[in-house]
Amino acid sequence: MQELLKGITNFSLGNLIMFAVAGILIYLAISKEYEPTLLLPIGFGAILANIPFSAAIDETHGVLTFLYNNGIHNDLFPVLIFIAVGAMIDFGPLLQNPFMLFFGAAAQFGIFATMMIALLLGFDLGAAASIGIIGAADGPTAIFVAGKFIKDNPALVGAITVAAYSYMSLVPIIQPPVIKALTTKKERLIRMDYKQVNVPKVVKIIFPIAITIIAGMVAPDSVSLIGLLMFGNLIRECGVLERLSQAAQNELANLVTILLGVIIGSTMTADKFLRWDTLAILGLGLFAFIFDTAGGVLFAKFLNLFLKNKINPMVGAAGISAFPMSARVIQKMATKEDPTNFIIMQSISANVSGQLGSVVAGGMLLALVPTFF
């Protein structure tokens, strides 16, 4: 009898709070459609983990513990997601307008600024870098980097993942006020010429190979990150692997996403998740997105000091990895100021650059942090 009641008698207030957290995530996923593919499995995983004596997370034979050790701990699932993401990215807009690559770099400012704030709050270097990477606005990169640096408390990886995906879905709410605060109406009205450029197929094929080699030479620790992203892209662009490209974009992405979400959620047990540092992570994640946006906008304004053909500074804010949401937000803001101003193509180019920049920034952290950690 005692055996049957142990789940009920050991149910704590912490478990109840975690059920509420899981409920909020599931609500946001279903009702608000905030990154439902990740937040719903994470929410359900949190429920599985917070049932007292849950067999799913048993240390020795729990299926979710097994999947965590063999899917996240060894980077397998994030890396598989990179193949899928690579197969989904069209670098065409970036190749047409490579100047926008600079915004993909500038908008990574939030990663490093947030890392510094986390250090000032007393987090160790590994945790601070993992919190900063929320600013990559790139879920798989955040999981990959956090999984590398946070070994003692996997629940923090869960918090970082939840923050990364939540704020990505909140880009339309976070970015506009930051952009408005940093730009004048005159700047937001700047028009940008757009010239359609033919991108030969051979360029689209050589690009992922060249990027892999260069990024790998600079930061060998990022090879599994950038290399497999670019492998996915090569499958897409080569033109002879359409079936594999579709499989990577659909079956592989869907299957790994389901498992990734539930596994991340399963790390969010009450005793490890309900701590002040979890709240700090959620708060710092917001800072990361704000600093990213500010970094991109201010960099565009800086460039405008020297350029003859001015850049609309709002485009700089699209240099984050949240694709295509950020580009859409920028175009919507531009249309609001002037219904005849179209900067969507430039914003998309900057947004694609952000996808590249975030992975490069993740690679930089992977290469640099262990030398000081």
């Binding site: 490093f112 991108v199 690009f207 650059s353």
Partner: protein
């Protein structure tokens, strides 16, 4: 330890951000070069805009 971490963080941030810019500048140069070479030596692919 605290100040050592801050100091290390500043170093990582400086090198990291400079590194991101450097890598993306190299990507920019490579892209420009690829586009130039491809448009100069190959037939334009009108379906691939």
């Amino acid at each position: 330890m605290y100040w050592e971490n801050i100091n290390n963080g500043l170093t990582i941030s400086g090198i990291g951000l400079a590194g991101v810019f450097t890598v993306l500048i190299i990507f920019f140069a490579i892209t420009k070069l690829l586009m130039y070479a491809a448009n100069k030596f190959s037939k334009p692919d009108k379906t691939n805009f």
